[in-house]
């Protein structure tokens, strides 16, 4: 997990977004579902309880009225004797019967049977059942309880109940399976009976109260919710009445077998929830079946919606993760590239800040940093240069030239007076050299440098009695180019003093030419000035060939001139310039080449 998240910033961003969006969504939808369900359940339970209470009250009221009827008939002195006699069609009995059943006739049929179960009177028109078995069912039960007893007339009330197969139209033996499926309107659903006794306690007959589907529909219709189903059950959970007749054959046996297995009828998986109430008087269970508040469809819908939202969250998280990481990465990438350039010493690089956020700030900071770095570097370079200049000035100031110049002038005039021309020439030359040396310019035209060089050679010629030749090749177009002052003299001196040592007929040549070196693209000037001082002397030690390198102090003491010139060139123009030592191509002698940029003005940073 950690490895996975650590792998990519993008993945981490995505995971973060996902967690931040999905978790609250799932939690809130789960809680919503839960509360929704709880609320609906509570509401449903309450409604069920209310409806059950209504149904119970209706049935209780009905029982009370039945009870009053039975009490009235029992106590009526005229009824029992008539029943004892088995006499039918008595108007007195009928008027009493109709009088006492005034209120409840709408919901039931009242019959009077004699003590052998033969029918005598009925509140209903038309033919009635002729006989009821006295040792069976409700008549038997009424004798056992000595009060008003009720018994279910079988599921659907058709064939299942003892009802005199051979004589009763209610029964249909040809369709034995119709017990539950076909609950016709005429089917008797519930029977109640009370025994009517004479004053002496002798059994005279029975009052039988019969309720069929029409009666119960009339009584209970509208008392339970329209989407609910009402079922009346006997104490053994056999159906007595079902608002939807098909339920008696399907739902009730299922619930009954659940009860027999000891299971709860309200299991969670069921599509309906059930509320029950027991009526002890009627010996009936009232079962109210109500569709589950959150049925499967609703749950599926909610699940789909949640899943859909989760999917949207995932997609949004991926999208945002990509977008944001790209937004963050492009400035970081640019910054990274810029840092790479800085590593390669390119301080001119700048990053354009993309946004005015932390990353934009970062870019600006980077720019400031590079700027500061560049300034620092330039400052450092300038300091170095100043230091070098100071050193050069120190070198130049090692003599106090004015005194020498004046002295030399004086010497010149004295020698002229005393007719010693060599002294005059030498002192003149020396004075010129000195004057040149102490002049404030650091850079001079090449022509002037060459002139001074000639003076020096003149002096040396006198000193060495003209034992060497000296030649200068200076192209006219290069005559005015600027070079550092007094760089040629030490080289020529070197050639004369060391190169031509013990050499007769020596020659020193100064050759000036300009080259352009295309390969050195980094160099600022396009062209280079090469000044080659060669001699035909004894040559160069092998190890000194190549670019001049400053060796240990002791040995370079002899080459102080070379060292100084090289240093001046390098300090003024950079490390790529300097002296190059080589043997002459014809074998004898040495060639020292000074390389410096070809320029007609002083270097700016000099």
């Amino acid at each position: 997990m950690k490895k996975f998240f650590g792998k990519s910033f993008r993945v981490r961003l995505f995971a973060g977004f996902l967690a931040a969006s999905l978790l609250p969504l799932l939690l809130s939808s789960a809680m919503l579902l839960k509360t929704f369900r709880l609320r609906l359940d509570r509401q449903g339970k309450q409604e069920t309880a209310e409806q059950l209470a209504r149904v119970t009250q209706l049935l209780d009221t009905l029982y009370t009225s039945f009870h009053q009827v039975s009490e009235a008939l029992k106590n009526d002195p005229s009824i029992a004797p008539v029943l004892m006699r088995g006499q039918g069609g008595s108007t007195t009995v009928y008027s009493t019967l109709f009088a006492v059943t005034e209120d409840s006739r709408e919901y039931a049929r009242f019959d009077l049977y004699d003590k052998d179960g033969i029918w005598l009177y009925s509140t209903q028109n038309g033919p009635a059942a002729g006989e009821l078995p006295v040792n069976w069912g409700v008549l038997y039960a009424s004798r056992q309880t000595a009060g008003l007893a009720f018994a279910a007339a079988g599921a659907g009330g058709n064939t299942a109940r003892p009802g005199f197969v051979l004589s009763s139209a209610e029964s249909d033996p040809a369709r034995p399976d119709s017990a539950s499926a076909d609950a016709g309107a005429s089917g008797v659903l519930l029977r109640g009976a009370a025994q009517i006794t004479t004053r002496e306690g002798e059994a005279a007959g029975y009052l039988v109260i019969t309720m069929d589907r029409t009666h119960l529909n009339r009584l209970l219709g509208g008392s339970y919710g329209s989407q609910n189903d009402l079922i009346l059950l006997n104490p053994y959970w056999r159906p007595v009445y079902a608002s939807d007749p098909s339920l008696a054959g399907t739902l009730v046996p299922r619930l009954r077998s659940l009860l027999l297995e000891g299971a709860d009828i309200n299991d969670k998986a069921s599509e309906d929830s059930y509320g029950t109430a027991y009526l002890p008087d009627l010996e009936l269970y009232v079962l109210l079946s109500r569709p589950q508040t959150l049925n499967r469809d609703a749950r599926t819908l909610l699940g789909t919606v949640t899943l859909g939202s989760a999917l949207v969250c995932v997609i949004l998280s991926i999208f945002l993760g990509l977008k944001l990481s790209r937004r963050m990465f492009s400035p970081i990438k640019r910054l990274q590239g810029a840092i790479g350039q800085v590593v390669h010493n390119d301080l001119s690089v700048r990053v354009t800040p993309s946004h005015d956020d932390e990353l934009g700030e970062l870019s600006r900071q980077f720019n400031t940093m590079v700027e500061a770095l560049k300034q620092n570097q330039e400052q450092l370079l300038a300091n170095h240069r100043e230091l070098n200049e100071a050193q050069i000035r120190m070198l130049q100031a090692q003599l106090n030239p004015h005194l020498l110049c004046n002295t030399l002038d004086t010497m010149k005039w004295i020698s002229k007076i005393h007719q010693v021309p060599q002294v005059a020439v030498m002192s003149t030359d020396l004075a010129d050299i000195l004057r040149f040396c102490i002049s404030p310019e650091e850079f001079v035209p090449l022509r002037q440098e060459v002139e001074i060089l000639k003076r020096y050679v003149e002096i040396q010629t006198i000193r060495m009695s003209g034992s060497f030749r000296f030649a200068v090749e200076l192209p006219e177009e290069l005559a005015e180019c600027e070079i550092p002052k007094m760089i040629l003299q030490p080289l020529v001196e070197n050639a004369i003093l060391h190169g031509l040592e013990d050499v007769t007929d020596g020659a020193v040549t100064v050759e000036v030419r300009s080259t352009s070196d295309k390969q050195q693209v980094w160099s600022t000037p396009d062209k280079q000035l090469k000044i080659c001082i060669s001699d035909n002397g004894r040559g160069l030690p092998k190890e000194m060939e190549g670019p001049y390198v400053c060796r240990e102090q002791s040995s370079s003491r002899h080459h102080l001139g070379l060292y100084n010139v090289d240093t001046i060139l390098k300090k003024n123009y950079g490390a790529q310039y300097g002296l190059f030592l080589s043997r002459r191509p014809d074998g004898t002698g040495t060639a020292v080449t000074a390389t410096l940029p070809l320029t007609w003005e002083e270097p700016k940073n000099a």
Partner: protein, 376 residues
Amino acid sequence: MKERHLYAPAGLRRLRRALSAPLRPLRFTALIILALAGPLALSGCDAPQKEEPPVEYAPSEDRTLVIYTSHKEEVYRPIVEEFEERTGIWVDVVSGGTGELLKRISRETEDPQADVMFGGGVDSLTAYAECFSPYSCQDWDMLQAEYRSQDGLWTPFSSLPVVLIYNTKLVEAGQVTAWSDLFSPAWHGRIAFCDPGISGSSFTSLVTLLRVLENEDETSGHSILKALAENLDGRQYQSSGQVLDAVADGTDLIGVTLEETALKRIAAGEDIAIVYPADGTCSVPDGAALIKGAAHRENAGRFLDFISGRDVQSLLEKQFCRRTVRTDILPAGILPKAEELPLADYDIEKAGREHDAILMSWAFYQMGEDSRLYRR
């Protein structure tokens, strides 16, 4: 400028922190959410469980009874419901064919699922004697002598004579009078007879036929079976109800069935008439038996007492067209009096013993010429 300098590193630090541990704050948030939501969700789960009432309607184990019955619903249901009302015992009914249920009971001897087998001729019950345990019902003395089980293995419920029926439109009265008429070529291929291997009543008819026609000569039984099989022309029905349907709609002219079934159809107005065979019929009772190892033995006993009791028995004739097995109930006058019926002896024990043998012989003759050849 200076402010920006101060601000920027802080921003950088924040940025770096955010980059290095992006999940940490999220995890923290998630924890907070969980901590808040957890108790809510839990309380939500707990709430409905408290309201749930315990199951209070279910009967206790000692108030239940499991019955296997081969009776039709119209027969067993009123009796079972009345039994429930009177005793307070919940009855769980499993219905099916006699043979099917008896086989199931014999399969379940190790762990009996039922307490009572209700229905089926007592000869069929006797054939499965090892599955039942004797019970002597309360009113044993009041039973007619011929319907008493000597060892108490079964309790009789009703007496059901075997009868012949004919279609009143196609057959004239008097054309069929006795068992021997079944062999008449006039009915060849038009006799409705149910497979005795399936229907207990059909088996009873077959045994009755054998008893009536069989003389002292034991071997004649086979010739009787053979003759009947040939006259049936290989046709047998798979349920006893189909026998009545076939005769009523004229597919078949005559049929063999039980008095009870025939009377119910006649009452329903079908074109059927009953003939009590002149050469004698027998009235084998159907009964109920207590299953060996029954879990609710006491309740089962009460049920056996109830079905052989006066209240049920007095309803039999009127309600179910069955004859009572008791001596103390007067006939209602719907059925012909038992004394007037030409009854033949029926040895229930013997029929039970020979149950398999007779069925095998019957199946053998039923298969016809080819199989006989094969057998040789």
